[in-house]
Structure formats: C-alpha cells, structure tokens
Symmetry: C3
Subunit: 155 residues, 3 copies
C-alpha cells in the first residue's frame, strides 16, 4: 500500500513555479539615459535558487523601454544620437497639444522600443552573450525614479 | 494513515498553470490604425481568477504589431506621422514585385514593431503604468478583422 | 480507501513544465542576413509533445535580433535597405573608438530590434499567421556561427 501511495504521488511532479514578483527602483536622468540592469537581475536569479526558466523584465510607464546592448560609453552616445535623429526631442508633437506636455518624443521612442523583454536562463545563468547587457532606456524629459518589474518563472 | 496521505499529497504543490488560450476579434481600419486592447485584457485576467503571472499578447500575421502607448488622439497622430516618415506607405518596395502586393511598408513596420508583448501581473492586476495602454497597431493597407491571441500563465 | 487516494492525488494536477532548453546553431553571412527559424521551431515543438504554451526564441549576443516577417526575397531586400537607411553600416560610430570595432551599426540595429520573441502555441501548433515566419536577423559585419536559444513552456 505504501508503495502504491508513493508511486501515485510522484506522477504529478511539477517543479515549475512563479517566483515572487520583484520590483526595484532605478534613478535615471531621462533624455535617453541608459541604466544597466544586469547585475540586479543576476543577483535576483541567484537568490531565487531557480536553475532553468525565464526572466521577464518590464518597465511600467509609457516613456521608457527595455532592450539589450553592449553597455559601453561609445554605444550609449551612439544610441542617444540615433534616437535624436529619428525622433528628435525638440519638435512640436501633437501629444503636446493634448496635455501641455513636452515629452511627445519620449512616448514615440518608448512605443518603438517597447517596455518588455524576456531572457531565458539555464544552469542558474542568464543566457546572455558576453558583451550583452539588459538595459533600461529612460526617454522622459526629466529625472525620474523608475520602478522596474522582474518576474522569474522556472524550476 | 490518512495523516500520511495528506502530507504526501501536499508535497508536489504547484499552482502554476497555463490558462486556456483566448482569441478575440478586433476590426481595424489599417494604415497604422491603433486599437486599445487593455480593457479586454483586464476582463480576461479578472475572469481567469489568476493573481500572479504573465499575460502574453500576440498578433498572428506579418502586417501588424503589439506595443504600449499612452492611448490619446495626439500620440495616435504622432505615431502615424513617425511610421510614415521612416517607412512611407507609397513607395515602391521590392515586396510589391514578388506578389503584386501594395503593402511592403506594412510588412517592414510590423517586422520592426514585432507581434508579441508580455506583461506581468500581480495581485490580479496588470503591472502597467497609469497612462500605459496595450495596443494593436494594424499597418495593413485596408480594413481587417484581426484575431489577437491572449495567453495567461500564472497562479 | 483507494477511491480517496485517487481523488487526493488528482487535486494538485499540474502539467505545466519547462521543457528542456534547446540551443541550435545557425551559420549566417552577417550584414543583415535573415534566416528563417520556423521549420526548426516547428520540429522542436513537435518533438516536445507539448500542446499548449509558449515558445521563447532568444539570440545571445548584441549584434543580432529576432522578429517575424513574411520570408520572401523581396522583403529581405526591403529590410536590408530599411536598416541601411536608418542606421548605415559605413558611418563612424562612437563605438568604433572604444574598441577599434567596425560594427557600431550592428549594435544599434540589434538594440532596436531586440533579441527576444515569444510565440504562443495551442493544439501543438505555433499560432503564427500563414505568411509569418520567425527569423534571426544577423547585423554583424562578418560571417558568424550563431547559437539560438529555444525554450518551450507549456503542457
């Protein structure tokens, strides 16, 4: 009888789980300020004890985005110049007429870059390239204290 | 014996599950028509009874995308003008020569914006900013009846 | 008693699981070379036996991206021309001064397109449109042997 019980209980094994949603604060300068989130993600993953699964990084708000980049000062300047070229900050956007805001460019850039990124991990390690960092890009036109959401799913 | 049974059964607790995949239809006007999906997502999440996890929004098809934006008429016009500037509708794309289509711009815009977005939720609420809506952007050159896929994972 | 046991065991049913993380190699030509990953994804999904869930496709490295497109030669040329227009390869980027590299454009394009894409599946089928393929876009300035990560979650 005990044999049967143990066999029955093992059948629905399922170690997959949502690890508790984490939020962490990042001060930014706005104007395409780029902040490296990778060390914080690595720490959270290590603390979770999970070994295989996915890390979702999400920025609530419509004037910032999440992507990956080789985080070095040259590329940070290149990204600033790229976004300024295709969506200049000092233009008169229709959005400004709606609310008297000055950050139409911030909204357009954020809609293009998008607020969400999912990174797989295995053996307890994010499967990023050696020169690939997960970054928050804040397009708003002033300093902000951003709250980034991190959610781990895995086993 | 009943004590042992109950203890054994509790060990593999796992409340994580895929909630049934939902599809819902959205009529659009094409030409960068932007539709707010947020109320539908909120309703689906509420109906699911899930409290913590992720909502995947996906648009099948290669001429539309999913992103977030502050959904107000000024920004809708700004987005139209932005996509028209970087990828004009009335140009002669190589794609037109392949099939006799007229929607090369629609395909390029969609490949850039991408068809997928994952939003975390906790306490039964999508973790969006106050002025951040999840939108479908239909870049096709005519009216469409789109089918958006929503998949909830969580507990 | 056996009745009770079976009822108890069924309560925590949970068929959701992380399927083993897969990596597969893709040789590319660089310079915005576009490779169709869809047949490989379909094969992996079929082999997994999963019927409902999500496929995460991720490219480690900061000079390539993942998106969907109707994979036909005309659009491949259109995408080349689009990326060359907004982020030309032969420009002097600040990144070049940092490491003596020549691939600043590759990094900018990759940060814009992003390395991650999640596709839902149901009834064992990816919920893609008929003319929608999942593609790797390699922006680097030379031939590469890329390793793409595929992670299936589902039941």
């Amino acid at each position: 009888m005990r044999e049967d019980l143990h066999r029955a209980v093992r059948v629905p094994t399922c170690s997959l789980r949502v690890f508790r949603t984490a939020k962490f604060n990042i001060p930014t300068e706005g104007h395409c300020d780029i902040q490296d989130l990778t060390p914080t993600l690595r720490k959270h993953l290590e603390d979770s004890g999970l070994h295989e699964g996915q890390a979702l990084v999400f920025i609530p708000g419509s004037t910032a985005g999440i992507t990956t980049v080789e985080f070095e000062p040259g590329l940070v300047r290149d990204l600033h110049e790229f976004f300024e070229k295709i969506i200049p900050e000092q233009r008169d956007y229709h959005h400004h007429a709606t609310w008297g805001d000055d950050n139409g460019a911030s909204h357009l850039r954020a809609a293009l870059l998008k607020p969400s990124l999912t990174i797989p991990f295995a053996d307890g390690q994010l499967l990023l390239g050696t020169w690939q960092q997960v970054v928050l890009v804040d397009f708003d036109t002033h300093k902000r204290r951003r709250t980034v959401v991190l959610q781990l799913i895995g086993e």
